[in-house]
C-alpha cells in the first residue's frame, strides 16, 4: 500500500475499536428494542408480529400519560428554579467573594455525589418526625406533622423538586460563573467609560455574551431532569400511589414490576427518539457556544 493510502486509512483504524463498541452497546440495543416493541411479548419471550399494537396500547394508557405529565411538571419547575437561582449565585460569586477557594469546592459536592447518595441524604433529612428538616422546618411551620413529606401524595413531588434543585443548582451556578469569568474585559471597560449602569451592562453585554452557554446549560438540565431515576426510586419508588411516577419510573415498573415488555419497549423507543432529538438540538447549541467562546 502506498504511503498516501495508509494515511487515508489511519484515522479509521484509530476510530474502529471505539465506534465498533459504541455500535454494539448503543445502536444494537436500540434496534433490538425497536424490534421487540413491534412484537407481542409474553414476559421475555418474543411472540408474533404485532405491528404498532404496543404503541397504540401505550398511547391509550392513562398511566403512561400521567407519567409524562409528572416528568413534564418536574422539568418545568426544577429547570427555571435552578437557572434563576444559579444565575443569581453566579453573579454574586463574580462580585469578588472572599474565601472562594473554600466555597466553590463545597458547592460542587451535591452535584458530584452519587444520585443514590443524594437520595439517601434526603431520606435521612426528611424522615418523618425525627428528620432534621422534618423536625426543624416542616413541623415548625405546620406543613406536616409526624409523617414524612415523601409519604404525602400532595407534597412528595415537590420534595423531589426541592432535592433536585439542591443537587443541581450549584452546577448551573458554577457553569455560569465559569462563563462569566471567561468573558472579554474590553467591552466592559468601554461600557464603564460610557457611563452604563450595572443593569444596562448586564442586559446589553452579559446576557447576549453568555446566551449561547445559557442555552447549553438549560438544555442539559432539561435532559437530565427528564431522566431522573435514582433519587425518585430510592425516596418514593414513584409513590405514594403514582404521585411521583416519572417516565423513567414508569418504564422501570413496566419491566420489573409488571413484566409488561410490550409497554416497556415501546416507551423506551419513544423516549429514545425524544432524546435523540434533544441531542441534536444540544449539538447545534454547543457548536454555537464553542464558536463564540
Amino acid at each position: 500500500m502506498s504511503a498516501r493510502g495508509r494515511d487515508r486509512w489511519f484515522p479509521w483504524v484509530l476510530l474502529a475499536p471505539a465506534m465498533t463498541i459504541l455500535v454494539v452497546v448503543a445502536l444494537v440495543p436500540f434496534v433490538y428494542t425497536v424490534y421487540l416493541s413491534l412484537h407481542e411479548m409474553q414476559y421475555a419471550r418474543v411472540g408474533a408480529w404485532a405491528g404498532v399494537a404496543n404503541y397504540r396500547a401505550l398511547l391509550g394508557s392513562g398511566r403512561f400519560w400521567h407519567s409524562v405529565a409528572i416528568s413534564a411538571l418536574f422539568v418545568a419547575i426544577t429547570v427555571p428554579l435552578q437557572f434563576g437561582l444559579g444565575l443569581a449565585g453566579a453573579l454574586i460569586l463574580n462580585q469578588g467573594v472572599r474565601l472562594r477557594s473554600v466555597i466553590v469546592p463545597l458547592l460542587f459536592v451535591p452535584t458530584m455525589m452519587a444520585p443514590i447518595v443524594v437520595g439517601l441524604l434526603w431520606k435521612i433529612m426528611l424522615a418523618g418526625s425525627w428528620g432534621l428538616v422534618s423536625y426543624n422546618v416542616l413541623e415548625r411551620f405546620g406543613i406536616l406533622t409526624d409523617t414524612s413529606v415523601l409519604a404525602s401524595p400532595a407534597l412528595a413531588l415537590y420534595a423531589l423538586v426541592f432535592i433536585d434543585v439542591w443537587q443541581w443548582t450549584p452546577f448551573v451556578l458554577l457553569a455560569l460563573f465559569a462563563g462569566l469569568q471567561s468573558l472579554p474585559v474590553a467591552p466592559y471597560r468601554a461600557a464603564q467609560v460610557d457611563g452604563a449602569t450595572a443593569l444596562q451592562t448586564f442586559r446589553r453585554l452579559t446576557l447576549p455574551l453568555l446566551a449561547p452557554l445559557m442555552a447549553v446549560i438549560v438544555l442539559l438540565r432539561i435532559i437530565d431532569a427528564f431522566k431522573v431515576f435514582d433519587t425518585i426510586f430510592l425516596l418514593t419508588g414513584g409513590g405514594p400511589g403514582t404521585a411521583t411516577e416519572s417516565v423513567s419510573l414508569f418504564t422501570y415498573k413496566m419491566v420489573f414490576d409488571f413484566w409488561n415488555l410490550g409497554a416497556a419497549t415501546a416507551t423506551a423507543v419513544v423516549v429514545w427518539i425524544m432524546f435523540f432529538a434533544f441531542s441534536n438540538v444540544f449539538y447545534q447549541l454547543l457548536k454555537r457556544a464553542l464558536r463564540t467562546s
Binding site: A26, Y135, L213, F229, L261, W272, F275, Y283, S293
Partner: protein
C-alpha cells in the same frame, strides 16, 4: 471622610455580604453530609430523638455491622468495575477522539452526534435491551456485563471530552514531527499523548466517578453477584426496618472519592459537566 473612602467601605461591606450569602449556600450544600456523617456513629437509642441530637457518645456498632456483613466486598466491587471500565475507555477512546479532532473525516458531524446521543440516552431505556440480551448470552450478574454496560455513557463521554481537548492542541508540533519523517503512529505516541495527558487524566477521573456513582445498570444487571456500593444502599432498607447508621456509613464511603475530586480537580468538573461548553 473622603468620598472615595465611603465608596470603598460600601464596596467592602458588599463583598462581605456576598461572601456571607455564598458561605450560607455552601453550608446548605454540606449540612446534610455532615448530619449523615454523624449518623454513622450515632447509637440506635438516640437516633430518633426529638429534637434531633447533635452531641452524643459515638458508637462503633454500625461500623461493626457493615464490616461483618460483607460490605467491604461492595467497596471492592465498585473499585473493580469503575476502574476496569475507566481503563478500557481510555485505551479505546483516546485514539478515536484524536482521529475525530485531526482528520477531515467523511460524515464527522454525524459521528460526533452519534457519540453525543449515546451519552444522552436515558439509562432506563438502554437497560431493558441490555437485560434481555444479557439474559440470553449469560452476562447477567457478571463483572464483564457491567463493565460493558458502563461503556455506553463513559466511552461516549470520554471521546466527546477528549475530542474537545485534542482540538486545542497546536497542530504545528505534529506537522514538524511528520516533516522529520516520523510515521503517524509515532507522532501520536511521542508527541500527542504527552501533550494530552492532563486532559486524559481529568476526563478519566470523571469517568471513574460516573461509573462509581452509577446505580441503575448495577441494580438491574449486576444481581446478587456483582453488587456495587450504590446497590448496597437499597439493600439496607428492608421490610424489617431501615439500618440508618449502616446506610450513612455506606453513603459516606461512597462520597470519599467524590470529595477528593471536588477538591483537587474542580477546574475540570465544569468543563466535563457541560460537555466541553466551558473551558476549565
Amino acid at each position: 471622610m473622603t468620598p472615595s473612602g465611603v465608596a470603598e467601605r460600601a464596596a467592602r461591606r458588599r463583598a462581605w455580604l456576598f461572601t456571607g450569602l455564598a458561605a450560607l449556600w455552601a453550608l446548605a450544600a454540606v449540612l446534610p453530609v455532615i448530619w449523615m456523617a454523624l449518623m454513622m456513629f450515632k447509637p440506635e437509642a438516640i437516633m430518633f430523638e426529638r429534637p434531633p441530637v447533635w452531641v452524643f457518645t459515638p458508637t462503633l456498632a454500625h461500623v461493626d455491622y457493615v464490616l461483618a456483613h460483607g460490605f467491604v466486598w461492595n467497596l471492592v466491587t465498585s473499585l473493580l468495575v469503575a476502574g476496569a471500565s475507566t481503563v478500557l475507555v481510555v485505551v479505546v477512546g483516546t485514539p478515536a477522539a484524536y482521529a475525530l479532532a485531526r482528520f477531515p473525516l467523511a460524515r464527522r458531524d454525524d459521528l460526533l452526534l452519534f457519540v453525543l446521543a449515546t451519552r444522552m440516552a436515558p439509562p432506563v431505556a438502554l437497560a431493558i435491551p441490555f437485560y434481555l440480551i444479557y439474559a440470553k448470552v449469560g452476562l447477567l450478574d457478571s463483572y464483564l456485563g457491567l463493565v460493558i454496560a458502563y461503556l455506553t455513557f463513559n466511552l461516549s463521554f470520554y471521546i466527546w471530552m477528549l475530542w474537545s481537548f485534542c482540538r486545542e492542541l497546536p497542530v504545528e508540533l505534529e506537522e514538524a514531527a511528520r516533516a522529520d519523517g516520523y510515521p503517524r503512529g509515532q507522532v501520536l505516541l511521542r508527541v500527542v499523548l504527552p501533550l494530552l495527558r492532563p486532559g486524559i487524566i481529568a476526563t478519566a477521573v470523571l469517568c471513574f466517578i460516573f461509573a462509581w456513582n452509577e446505580f441503575l445498570y448495577a441494580f438491574m444487571l449486576g444481581g446478587k453477584a456483582v453488587e456495587t456500593l450504590p446497590v448496597a444502599v437499597p439493600k439496607l432498607i428492608t421490610s424489617q426496618g431501615v439500618k440508618w447508621g449502616e446506610l450513612s456509613l455506606v453513603g459516606i464511603v461512597a462520597l470519599v472519592p467524590v470529595l477528593a475530586v471536588v477538591f483537587f480537580l474542580q477546574r475540570h468538573i465544569v468543563r466535563g459537566l457541560t460537555m466541553g461548553a466551558v473551558k476549565g
